[in-house]
């Protein structure tokens, strides 16, 4: 599978990570599935990192905010196709903690690396899907469009 998104939306994700640095940012990927099973992002929607104990290396969605964003997305004809978060000064690769807290297979899990306050230039944004047996993440291609 692959994740398709406009460069402008990826930049929005990266800006979010830069703004919250050195804390982790998080958000929703709203869009739809295309006929070939590819997840297509229409909008990256910011969420508040509700983790107050360790936001520099943890994030959690506020569940009510998640519910409200889901309802508003549905009203706009959009689906929640995945989630994003940032890794301040760490690679854009899922951690064991990410794996232990993943939801179902079938979402895209986009991670952006923010190094010293700036979006990492090399391999700074990677997306993953959860294996069917939940044992690991599988990297998926990120297709950026104009």
């Amino acid at each position: 599978m692959a994740l398709e998104m406009a460069k402008a939306e990826m930049e929005r994700v990266q800006r979010h990570g830069e703004e919250t640095y050195p804390l982790e940012c998080c958000g929703l990927l709203l869009g739809h599935m295309d006929g070939g099973g590819r997840r297509v992002v229409v909008e990256a929607a910011r969420m508040r990192n509700a983790n107050t104990e360790s936001p520099q290396n943890r994030f959690v969605f506020d569940p009510h905010e998640h519910l409200e964003k889901q309802k508003s997305a549905r009203a706009r004809g959009l689906e929640i196709i995945g989630f994003y978060h940032s890794h301040p000064d760490h690679p854009a690769r899922p951690s064991q903690f990410d794996l232990e807290h993943a939801a179902w297979p079938g979402y895209s899990y986009l991670i952006v690396s923010i190094e010293r306050g700036r979006a990492a230039a090399q391999a700074g944004a990677n997306s993953f899907e959860l294996a069917e047996d939940r044992s690991r993440f599988l990297e998926e291609a990120v297709v950026l469009t104009d």
Binding site: N57, R58, F59, V60, I80, H101, A102
Partner: protein, 96 residues
């Protein structure tokens, strides 16, 4: 007439790609059981080996988390809506 249940995208492969399904029951527990009876593959996605909701599965009756309203014994009406919403968390574990 049953009540509506909103199904998150990854689980629609088990509901014939329907984003909303109907299920019947007098309380949340009966409605979820009816949902899993008519869509058996949802059971392992929603429940753990002990038959409890998996830790990352939140269920909302309208706008309320059922954990705070009586969980499975929360009474329902046909005009109510259930939403299945995953709890989302994570983060870099580099320093833990």
């Amino acid at each position: 007439m049953g009540m509506r249940i909103h199904i998150p995208l990854p689980l629609r492969v088990f509901t014939g790609q329907h984003a909303t399904v109907e299920a019947e029951g007098r309380d949340v527990g009966e409605v979820l059981e009816d949902l899993m009876r008519t869509h058996p593959q949802l059971r392992s996605q929603l429940l753990n080996a002990e038959g409890k909701l998996r830790s990352f599965v939140n269920v909302y009756l309208n706008d309320e988390d059922i954990r705070y309203t009586g969980s499975g014994t929360t009474p329902v009406q046909s005009s109510d809506t259930l939403s299945i919403v995953p709890a989302i968390a994570g983060g870099n574990c580099g320093r833990c």
